[in-house]
Symmetry: C2
Subunit: 191 residues, 2 copies
């Protein structure tokens, strides 16, 4: 997506060999107009598969999930909640997600009633790197007996294995901007 590629080039920051900072427009300060276009781009890619809901994980996935759900005709959004602890009651689907960024293991969970069996789910997230969050969301859908009709990510770190892992597992993955690498603090972004 042209506007997102341009934003990553203009305002994205590379740190070391693998940290991509896009908090000027994507996940701390949020460029609203850009997010509306992100939603339209995901709807153009996935709406013909008729998703029943958009699933994401708090916190920075919520904005893209919401604009996508609006562009898909006001379908609901469900966001999985993160926790450092396991849930002890039986009313949630839950999976483990290791965060490379923070070096910790989180549990993500969704109340069972909000992820109905048989529903067609579009997963949206702001970032795809090692694919842990997306795999965790797919695992919640597997537990629920829901179908993942696609995975949309705003920015992908294509030099990390997440994209390929998800494609190998049979998912339809669509990234709107692909960071190919970092050179001297500058992000190399695919055209």
């Amino acid at each position: 997506m042209k506007e997102l590629v341009e934003a990553v080039r203009a305002h994205g920051i590379g740190i070391g060999t693998d940290i991509v900072k896009v908090d000027m427009f994507l996940n701390h300060r949020m460029d609203t107009e850009l997010y509306v276009k992100i939603g339209q781009a995901f709807a153009a890619e996935f709406a013909q598969k008729k998703p029943d809901l958009v699933l994401t994980v708090e916190a920075s996935g919520i904005a893209g999930a919401l604009t996508t759900a609006i562009a898909c005709g006001n379908i609901p959004v469900v966001f999985a909640k993160k926790s450092r602890t396991r849930n002890v009651t039986g009313d949630v689907y839950e999976s483990r997600v290791f965060s490379f960024t923070h070096g910790v293991e989180n549990h993500i969970r969704v109340a069972k009633q909000y992820l109905p069996e048989g529903s067609k789910v579009l997963i949206v997230d702001d970032f795809l790197a090692n694919g842990e969050a997306a795999e965790g969301l797919c695992e919640l859908c597997r537990q629920a007996g829901a179908e993942v009709i696609g995975i949309g990510v705003c920015v992908e770190k294509s030099f990390q294995p997440g994209h390929q892992k998800l494609v190998d597992a049979g998912y339809h993955v669509h990234a709107l901007a692909k960071v190919l690498g970092i050179e001297d603090g500058k992000l190399i972004v695919e055209d």
Copy 2:
């Protein structure tokens, strides 16, 4: 706001004397159409004060902040991040927020560069109870030398002191649905 009042009446759940659950449409599963109308309602109340940005706190404040920012003409959203630990670098504004819900003290923070001195800030959050989160966001603005032009909350627990504390401090507070109390698990919602 009629639609939100109706949603709280139809799907909100009261637990004990003071817990209000609205996660069916507001802060776990999110009713997208309702959130678009929430944004329009906040814009109708506050847009004439010409906010430069909408400030909220992760995670469940983000959706309302985004639709409000869209309805205000695509101004940016900045969301404060929660942390259990104090920041040790000097590049953020930070305040302490005690969460009654979880019984813990959080720190919320915003990168200084995203909350410019002199900016006119509209604060939006999903909930107002004791007012801790809103006060914390106001404190970030005070540190930044930014002006809070208003505080919009989706659902207010009017039987708790947050609203009055913020009004007494001179803020323009607007709640779209007011829960007056809980009787036998049912929410009493103002017309």
